[in-house]
Symmetry: C2
Amino acid sequence: MTKPALVLTLASAMALSFGLRAQQAPTDGPRYTSGTNLARPTDYREWPFVGSSLGLAYTTLPEGAPPPFANVFVNPSSYRTFMQTGRWPDGTVLVLEIRRSANDGALIKGGRYQTDLLVLEAQVKDSRFPDGWAFFSWGRGSALLDVAAPAPPDTAIPGEGTCVECHTKHAAVERTFVQFYPTLLDVARQKGTLNPGF
Amino acid sequence: MTKPALVLTLASAMALSFGLRAQQAPTDGPRYTSGTNLARPTDYREWPFVGSSLGLAYTTLPEGAPPPFANVFVNPSSYRTFMQTGRWPDGTVLVLEIRRSANDGALIKGGRYQTDLLVLEAQVKDSRFPDGWAFFSWGRGSALLDVAAPAPPDTAIPGEGTCVECHTKHAAVERTFVQFYPTLLDVARQKGTLNPGF
């Protein structure tokens, strides 16, 4: 092996390493198609989980339907920034997974556990959106969309107003319901990043 | 720079890379002190989350206490093996986090969300244990132990028998309650790894 070949090998290895690092950094944030349409992340179940609730979903359910669980996951790099600062960086994606609950089964004497995916949604922090945040829905779990357009600003939940209104009035940190995510709430308290009233 | 120095640099870089990889592999599995005492993982909240339930915990609660949530997390490398095979490799750690539930707050009209950590436990697959599995408790959330000894084999929940008896009789995959972890349950169905009766 000649000296130039070796130099090239080492340089290539370093370039590859830096190249991969540069490519990896943004891949866990929002991935858009056609400007601001959000591609559904396929690996969000490996993202940090921040909280689960039962029966809090604002989606109207058929009468007699069991209360759904809602799980929230955050893209790893934004999670790490929040744990260090108590604030969300631009490019934060919070995925909201709504699941059916059940209480049947030989082991179950009471209580409820999670079953089928019902709905998959996301909230994204991106300075390109009017309020700095946007909301997306990939629809029903049985027929998920691959890409979702941002919900129009006047999208409203009856009794709660628009997404932005409710997330402005009731959110503990920025536009997010950190009051339901206990480990994040501790960090926000320590860092003093809670919204007034919390 | 001389040719030998370059060779050394490249060799060192490769050795470092392989060395780091070799060191990283086992660090997400069980970390023992004094033989079989299990150190509490400090980063389990960044591990893949597999399910949450409300009111399923077998721990006896004071009368009138709210039903607790139970979150389960799995060490990343064992999670990836399960997603590929439907089985748990030796060195699997499932962390069970029991949290208080609450329903107060301006936004809450019904339903419950998660608050304080109550109890932290783990189930570990390790061929060194009699049944191939062992159970650990780091105790109460307000005063967590750093290290926990395996629960003695005769540790029993009133009405359910010992840990091993209940996890043998009621578990969907090996000794684990995969029936409560919907994404894992799908994989076990596809791979044909469900225990008889599921």
